[in-house]
Each structure stands twice: as C-alpha cells, then as structure tokens.
C-alpha cells in the first residue's frame, strides 16, 4: 500500500491550491462591488446585436441608439419631438419632407455634425440590404447648410417613424469597421466591446441633450439562466427575465412588468377554399371563411383567463395588433368570454349543435386545425387553451405544432398562431391591405375589404401623424366596417405579453413606452431619465 502516498500527496496539494485560489478570489470580488455604483450601472437586458452598432443596418431601431442620435424622437405617448432637427415639414402632396438641422451638435470625436452626414446616413442605409427599409426614398437634396429635403417615390406618412429610428452616422469616420467602433452624437460613446460577453460605454462629453446621471454602463450578454444567477449574486442592476423566472425573488431587486404590443393572435383564413393560380398556392378555409364563426370565436374566448393561465398573469388581453398605440381604435375593445352570446350568434346563422356538442351547418362541421410553431412553448400553450375555450362554444379545434417552413406551406389555408407588434403603423398596412394578399407572411389570410384599403391608403398619404392615425383608426372600425373584431374579424387577437425585468431597489427607471415585440434594448429608450435613489 506504500505506492499510493505520492498520488495522495499530489491530490492534497492540488486541493490546497484550489482553496487558496478560491479564497484569494473572494476578496477581490468584494472590492469590485463597493468601489463603483451610483454613477455606473450593469445591465443584462438583451441579446447582443451581433451585426454591431451601425444604425444603417438596423442598430437602435427601438430604444436608445446610445451612440447615435436621430433627427426626431417619439416621447412616451408617441408624440413627435425634435432631436437633431429644429423643425420639419411635409409638402402638401406628401412627397417632400424638409428637415432643418441644429447647428451646435458634435460627434463624440469632437467633429461637428453636418447636413452631409445626414445625407450620407440615409444613402448608406438605403443601400445596406438590411432591415432598414428606405426603398421609397427617391433622393435626398441639400437645400442649404442646415436644411435637407427628402424626396419620396410615393407619399408615406410613416416615413416619420424612419426619421425617429435611424441614428445619424459621421461621414468622416464611417468605414467597414464602423459597426465595431461607432462614433455618433448620442449620449454615450463606446469604450469596449468584448464580443459575446459585454459592452462598456461611457458618457459622451459632447452630447447636447439631457445628461444621464450614469457615467458608465456595462451591458452583459449572458444566457437567461446565467443572467438570472448574476442578478442573484448581486452583480447586475437590471436583468430581463422570462415569465417562468418572474415568480422567483431576488433580494434587493424588484420585479417590473412592462406592458407591450408584443402580441399573439390567431390568423384565420378569410376566403372560401380555392387556388391562387398566380401564386400557385392553396388558399382559404371552409369554416373560418364564415364571418359568424370568426365573430363567435372573438367574443366567446376569455382573454383574461388566457393571460392568467398561460402567461401566469404577466400579460394583457389583446384586441388588435396595435393595442394602446396612437393609431389604435379604442372602440374595438370587445367584451369577451361570452360563450352564450357566441352560441346564439351561431344558432341565429343556422348552425346547429350535433350530438357531440359541435356546431354543424349544411353538413359542414365547425372544425379546423390550428397550427403553431412547435419551437415556441407560449404559442403552444395558447393554442391548447384556445382549443378548450372553442370547444365550450361548440367549435372543434385540433392543434398541431409545425416548423416555420412547414407553416409557410399551409398558412394560406390554415389558422396559425402568430405574433407581431411594431411601433410603426405600416405593420397594419402589410397585414390587412388587399394588395399584400399572399405575399409571404403579409396578409396571409387573404383578407380584403375595399373600404379598409381606402382608409389605409389615405393614412399612408396623410401629411401629419394625427391625420394618419384618424384613418388608421377608421380602417379598424368606422362604425360600419373595418378589420377589427367588430367588423370583418380576420384575426383573433389573444394576448399581449408583458416584458419582465428585475431592477435594483434603488434604481428608478420611470415610466416606459408600450414596449414593441423585441425584448431588451427598448428599455434603454429613456435612460437619461433613470435615477439612483439611496
């Protein structure tokens, strides 16, 4: 047994080494914690923008672009505010947008921001082949040293939102590597980006706007589990969490649930079964093409119960694709959970319940298959809960999980659980305008209503956002028709998810906008107003 000793000795030595190492590391760990606070924050709020911090390829579309600033901004209530612009106006025909620029703005490298930079930004973005869509921008002209004219191909009232989303990049400092070394006129400048790990930013000394009390921000790119653990270990000040972790508690942190338009709903094929020869696809559905069925489902299901059961209370009932946004028509909120009313609707239309309690009419059973993306657990749960609620009304729903590519094959003829929610009303245009029927995911249910098309075209041609919003609202419900549940009801909107964050008890992030579909970065939008309270 002698021979074992050397091994034991080595093992013991290694163990001791580990313990010493561990003890030493505990000390330095504590130093870090007490040293900085108050003027610096650590955030674990979202995924890393892997394609970098270049607004011309989509950075900063929601939330604060941090490093850059935009011509216009939207305040909490979606009112247009001036940022880099001192004023703007739109020509009568809606084709020319004239924007006048402030003359006192400098980039974080000390160089002045000029009209050339604005032109450069929009031209670069137009050719970027990215999510930034400037197809409708015909040309940009410099009128004088501080004024620029955007000329559009066709009138587009929501061009306004592009002006609020696209951060201005410096022509002199723009290169292949800009997305890694962004220079801009925003509240912060990039100090260090450790890819896959963290982003460290510091106050931009040249920033012209309201200064944030936090001089340094560190954004961590951790997996959800790791981010939660980091918060539990007291290493982050704000962390985004999925609903299943929201029931936990983190000492020293409070849970904040932000309302959103991150919605989930069911798209119902609007037309009778048929074949779109032009596109070569099967379209329509016998049962869901019946307005009465769509209306009965809309009033029969209980959205509050869905929020409670499926989202564990972290959500709000959804009645449209744009709940609570300025272009949303409040009148379209309906009273739901009315099973008897739904039954009565169906019976009045000649539907009769069979022995199984399922409605039938002319030998057709009120039955359809509801497809959901199999990878999304929330959508699956919603589909199953919906199925039970539909059964109470007397409509049979079969659920089936599929991959997105399979869904693309069947979505023109089968109801699908979908989710949208943008801060740009153009989304409604693409979802409900008849000219987008069968174009990819746009209007996949082949919805069409001449009146609705007309209102939405008027909205696009409107000059002011207020005027546009009036038409957007009319397209939803004008008292007689519309695409909401009161009108043609081609969708059953179910719920809006809430976005959940644990926030340090001392950190006050104030009121937030209704959050868009994307999680995380949007919360940084009003970071200048965040405060630390002892």
């Amino acid at each position: 047994m002698k021979f074992r000793n050397p091994f034991l000795r080595i093992g013991l030595l290694l163990t001791v080494c580990f313990i010493i190492a561990a003890c030493a590391s505990t000390n330095s760990h504590n130093d870090e914690k007490t040293l900085t606070k108050k003027d610096s924050l650590v955030l674990a709020i979202g995924s890393e923008p892997t394609d970098g911090f270049d607004p011309t390829t989509g950075w900063g579309r929601y939330g604060s672009p941090l490093f850059q600033s935009t011509l216009l901004t939207l305040d909490r209530d979606f009112n247009v505010q001036l940022d880099l612009a001192v004023n703007y106006n739109v020509s009568e025909d809606g084709l020319e947008w004239i924007v006048q620029l402030r003359d006192d703005v400098k980039f974080s490298d000390g160089e002045p921001l000029t009209i050339e930079d604005v032109i450069f930004t929009f031209e670069t973005a137009k050719n970027s082949q990215s999510v930034v869509d400037l197809q409708n921008l015909k040309k940009i002209e410099k009128l004088d040293a501080q004024t620029v004219k955007f000329v559009l191909e066709k009138p587009q009232s929501n061009f306004l939102y592009t002006l609020t989303m696209l951060g201005i990049v410096p022509k002199h400092a723009y290169s292949e590597n800009y997305r890694e070394n962004p220079i801009g006129s925003g509240p912060y400048k990039l100090v260090q980006w450790d890819k896959g790990q963290q982003l460290i930013v510091e106050e931009n000394p040249y920033y012209y706007g309201k200064k944030s009390p936090f001089k340094k921000l560190t954004f961590l790119f951790l997996s959800q589990d790791a981010a939660f653990l980091a918060a539990k270990a007291g290493q982050v000040d704000i962390v985004s969490v999925p609903p299943n972790l929201a029931k936990e508690t983190i000492p020293g942190m409070k849970l904040i649930a932000l309302d959103s338009v991150d919605n989930r709903g069911i798209m119902l094929p609007f037309v009778k079964p048929g074949y779109d020869a032009e596109k070569g696809i099967e379209i329509g559905h016998e049962v869901t093409s019946d307005l009465v069925i769509r209306k009965a489902l809309n009033i029969g299901i209980d959205r509050d119960k869905l929020v409670e059961d499926v989202l564990e209370g972290f959500g709000t009932p959804a009645f449209s694709v744009a709940d609570k946004l300025p272009w949303w028509n409040e009148e379209t909120t309906i009273e739901d959970g009315k099973v008897e009313k739904a039954e009565k609707l169906l019976m009045d239309a000649g539907w009769v319940k069979n022995a199984d309690g399922i409605f039938e009419k002319d030998g057709i059973k009120a039955s359809f298959t509801l497809v959901y993306p199999a990878s999304d657990q929330t959508r699956q749960s919603l589909a199953i809960a919906f199925k039970q609620m539909a059964k109470e009304i007397g409509i049979e729903v079969k659920t089936e999980g599929k991959s997105w590519s399979e869904i693309e094959e069947v979505m023109y003829s089968t109801p699908v659980v979908m989710g949208w929610g943008s801060h740009d009303p153009i989304e409604m245009y693409h979802l409900y305008h008849s000219k987008y029927r069968g174009q990819g995911y746009s209007n996949a249910n082949y919805y069409s209503n001449e009146k609705v098309d007309q209102y939405m075209d008027q909205a696009i041609h409107a000059i002011t956002p207020e005027e546009a919003n009036e038409y957007w609202k009319k397209a939803q419900w004008d008292g007689e028709t519309g695409f909401s549940a009161l009108g043609d009801a081609p969708w059953i909107w179910l719920v809006n998810l809430q976005h959940l964050y644990f926030v340090n008890d001392h950190l006050n992030i104030g009121e937030q906008k209704i959050q868009p579909h994307g999680h995380g970065w949007p919360i940084t939008e009003f970071i200048a107003n965040w405060t630390w309270e002892e």
């Binding site: 869509d133 450790d194 997996s223 653990l229 290493q235 943008s422 579909h517």
Partner: protein
C-alpha cells in the same frame, strides 16, 4: 531513411483521407442546414417582417445569397472555399475567418487547459484504479467515471456555477473577464479566475474516458509475464509502477487523449453556453440557430481540421510506438 519515407507516406495518406472526409462533412452539413426549418431572412427580421416591404426583402435575400438555388449556393461557397475565402457571416456582417480567429483563441485556451488537466487527473486515477483492481478505491473510481460519462456537460456546468459562483461566491458567474473592467486593467489572474470553472467542467467530462482506458491498460500489463518476473524479484507498489507500468501505459493514454479532440470540441460548445464564455462554441450555436450558412460551414470545416490534427497526432504516436517495438527497442 526508410522510416522517414514511411512517415511521409503515412501523413500523405492521412491528408488525402482528410480531404475526402472534409468534403463529405461539408456536404452533409450543407444538406442539413439547407433542410433546416430556419429561414435566415425570417430569423433576421423577426417581428420586423411586417415593417419591411417586399422589395427590401428581396434586397436582403440577395445579400444573404438565398435567391440562388441550393446547388448554386453550394458551388458558390465551394469555389470561394477552394480559393481560401470562407465568405462573410450573415449574422456578424464580418468575414468568417475573422470571426473564427477572434473566437478560437478563447476556445483554445479553454480546451488546452482542460485537455491537460483531464489528461493528468484521468491518467493518475486510471493507474490508481488499475493497480488496486477490485478494491474499494477501484470501485469508487470506476463508479465515479461511469457517473461522469453519463452526465451531460451543461448540467455539471450549471451545478458548478450554482455551488461555486452563487452560493460560495468564489468564482464569477461567467464571461472571460470581470464585469465592466477595461481590457488593459484585466490581469492574468482575472483571466484565470474566469477560466477555471468552464475548464473544470470540460475536464470533468474528459476524465472518465482516459481513466477507464488507463485502468484497463494497467490491468492488462499487470497480467503479463514481465510483471510476474519483476514481482518475483521483489518489486512492488510505486517502484513497480515507475519501472514497468508508467512507460507502457503513458503513450497509449496520450494517444487516446489526442483522439478525444472531437469530444473536447463538443464539450466546449456546451461549456461556453453555460458560462457565457465567448468562444467558437457560442458562435456555432448562433450560426445554427439563425441559419448563417457561411459561418456554420466555416466553423465546421475548421473544427474538422482540428479534430483531424488530434487524430493524426494520436496515430503518429501509435506509429512511433510500433516502430520501436519492431526495431526491438525496449520500452
């Protein structure tokens, strides 16, 4: 001279085999991605899909290169690959080779440390078990190995994370450097602190293979004639090990360990996910989830090369052992 010629021939054969293998791996990976249900444009646009016009989507499709047919895409990629160009990652909007360079260093440090640690520990445990066959120690080590061999890496990672980082606070939660610290302030000690847990996770996974293999080897040798002879001369315990067993088991152990490069690569992907460690593993997961074909194929080709080198080294070691035996040298 003959020997050098032989080795040259051996390496040449191996390389040819590797090129064929690489081609097969790339074709398979490409087929898999092209049948993947993830549409790269959809995953890029997400919920923004309704805000982007059809014309713009065409532009994006063009940038992504998904307008071409699958075969066109593949041959396009292959020609570029043969010219030494791995293309541009759709996700990172950056050259694939740059992404791999940036990421590989971190992964390599992680793999190197855990490869060495698991090699040493695995070998030592294997010898202890082998020399004490049938005793409690042997049984304990054996069960330990079986448990480890059937434990998923990410689970061990999370366990270590919870115990050492959350409860005890000895190690950081993840990343390869302290939160919010500037690169020039980061010390070697900081780096080390961050690498310990992921490297430990990886080593734990690697240990069982080499331990069980070494244990078997030691037991085989203990059965042999020359050991009986040595024992008859009164050699026992550590002396017996040092004189006869050590050299006979070390080479096979090292070559087995080289051959485990493939598993090492697989393990590093999981460990990096758990510890948010910024290496190749993280990149390949994102590439897969978003159908970033150039990046995925680039990393696949690169990792095939990596595993090939590991296996080649293992084979060469065996080759040398064989030569020595043939030449009648004593080991």
């Amino acid at each position: 001279m003959l020997q050098i010629l032989n080795i040259g021939k051996f390496i040449l054969f191996r390389t040819i085999k590797f090129i064929i293998l690489l081609f097969a791996v790339i074709v398979c990976s490409f087929l898999l991605v092209s049948y993947s249900p993830v549409d790269p444009i959809q995953s890029y646009l997400g919920a923004e899909m309704m805000v982007v016009r059809e014309e713009q989507r065409e532009e994006i499709a063009e940038y992504f290169g998904v307008n071409e047919s699958k075969t066109e895409q593949f041959f396009h990629w292959l020609t570029m690959f043969l010219h030494g160009d791995l293309g541009t990652s759709l996700l990172y909007r950056q050259e694939v080779i740059v992404v791999i360079q940036e990421r590989f260093l971190a992964s390599f440090a992680l793999m190197a440390i855990s490869w060495i640690v698991s090699g040493i520990f695995g070998y030592v445990l294997g010898v202890i078990a082998g020399m004490n066959e049938g005793t409690m120690i042997d049984k304990a080590i054996k069960s330990f190995c079986f448990i480890l061999a059937s434990t998923p890496a990410f689970w061990i990672g999370i366990l270590l994370l919870i115990v050492f980082s959350l409860w005890l606070g000895w190690f950081p939660i993840g990343l390869s450097m302290p939160i919010g610290m500037l690169a020039e302030e980061v010390t070697v000690w900081d780096r080390l602190k961050h690498i310990i847990l992921p490297a430990l996770t990886l080593s734990i996974i690697g240990i069982s293979n080499i331990t069980l293999h070494t244990r078997q080897k030691v037991m085989d040798i203990l059965e042999s004639e020359f050991i009986r002879f040595a024992r008859a001369k009164g050699e026992e315990g550590f002396r017996l090990f040092a004189r006869h067993i050590f050299r006979n088991t070390l080479f096979p152990a090292i070559s087995v360990h080289f051959a485990s490069f493939g598993e090492l690569f697989g393990g590093v992907i999981l460990a990096e996910q758990v510890f948010s460690y910024p290496g190749l593993g993280q990149a390949i997961v994102q590439a897969g989830l978003n159908s970033d074909v150039p990046l995925l194929l680039g990393i696949v080709a690169f990792s095939a090369l990596f595993v090939f080198i590991g296996n080649l080294l293992a084979d060469l070691l065996y080759y040398f052992i064989d030569l020595r035996i043939k030449n009648g040298e004593t080991i």
